[in-house]
Symmetry: C3
Amino acid sequence: MTTGGSDVVDGQRRALLQGVAGAPAQSPVDRRWQAAIITVSDSRARRGAVEDSSGDAIVARLADLPADVVIRQVVADNADEIGSALRDAVERADLVVLSGGTGLGPRDVTPQAIRPLLDYEIPGMAEAMRREGLRGTPHAMLSRQVVGVARRRLVMVLPGSPRAVIEGLDAVWEALPHALRLLSGDTAHR
Amino acid sequence: MTTGGSDVVDGQRRALLQGVAGAPAQSPVDRRWQAAIITVSDSRARRGAVEDSSGDAIVARLADLPADVVIRQVVADNADEIGSALRDAVERADLVVLSGGTGLGPRDVTPQAIRPLLDYEIPGMAEAMRREGLRGTPHAMLSRQVVGVARRRLVMVLPGSPRAVIEGLDAVWEALPHALRLLSGDTAHR
Amino acid sequence: MTTGGSDVVDGQRRALLQGVAGAPAQSPVDRRWQAAIITVSDSRARRGAVEDSSGDAIVARLADLPADVVIRQVVADNADEIGSALRDAVERADLVVLSGGTGLGPRDVTPQAIRPLLDYEIPGMAEAMRREGLRGTPHAMLSRQVVGVARRRLVMVLPGSPRAVIEGLDAVWEALPHALRLLSGDTAHR
């Protein structure tokens, strides 16, 4: 959760490469984010997080943001539990990534659970995720990704498969740091 | 409404061609769906269903799903009548296709009538329909297609022209059987 | 606000070029629209409209619609003021273009202020705007454009930069006259 020494060095190296040497250590370029990763799955909730391969994939990808994982949780496909997990997460994380429960099965309730808790949605990010998914399979049009903001935290609801979470993150990756900076109150033009 | 003898033969022939000979008759490959087709149009409601060319086009296309039409109805552009027709349809059909009333005219109320009755929407299917429509004309961005789920039935709201209904069905065609299987509780991976 | 003599001549010339010579002067081809342009910006509201370059860009572009600007206003990033401005605008204009406040900053509230006041949305127009924006920068997926109808007036919420407003108008330009005609009750096929 704390920024280790090597990260600071990496940050300075990055700053130098980008020609902004001398930027203060708190410069947005160096900013590390705090992420909550919530896997929604009846079966994984029963087995514990030991086999949460989608969660593992998200952790690995967010390390490049760079983001530290401050919450990692597996909850059942239950709207109350999902809502409760989100409320906890926005207290501590800049970015909340939920995965699972976006399909059309009888237990798929994540979008319905999350949408009423958002202050507003960012439809272009969910559209981008679905468009990316459609490059792989027409079934991607059935995925009900949701992206929005709750208490000035970025909230993303992704499908549950490891492939789908990576596709979803990739689809919005280039806009993600900018989104997090704007939500954190950094409105400087860049 | 019942599966006739020739349909069973067709199903077996299809199964053989697809290399799944010996599959039980209830195999998803053979599954026939039940469809309700509701045309929303003041003028056609007055004339009766005799000239419902959009409805005819939907019937013809859905035969390939394969789906049997268990309800076919023409209702006026009136939110109460449209809502009432939907409520009846989800009692008996796996798939409800409404067409008409998605434009910007003063009598176009179908999306407003249907959306409050959905348990949730599937935005990617409506997005796919609009994207397909835009290949033909920029006016397609004005069409307010809606796709969603009510009581675990798939509900699609398409524009009223015969061309637009076929474009809309084509745009989601490859994902349609999978959507219907998931909604019917068949969650086997395929 | 009134159609000047040269506009009538231009209309007739256009009609002739399009092979519809002899069309009545009130033909939709000649129709001029009335537009309200509302810029949402704390800083510009403080300075007055003197530096409203986004508003200027919209005025210039809408002249080609053709549309006369009957309301031009700069309001602060305040949901009540924005809502009030919209309510006034739909009394007098066929088309209301708001710009600004669609981002993720703490003061960006325009979509939240406008959406509850719409009778319905036209999602395909906002999707088209975001798709157009993404050709320029992946950050465009963060823009929360909204297009919809309030009291049979077309309402568009665009991002605040001069570049973004032009991109947004361009993205829907070819469908705009048709949308305005349908909303004004002209349902003749063209």
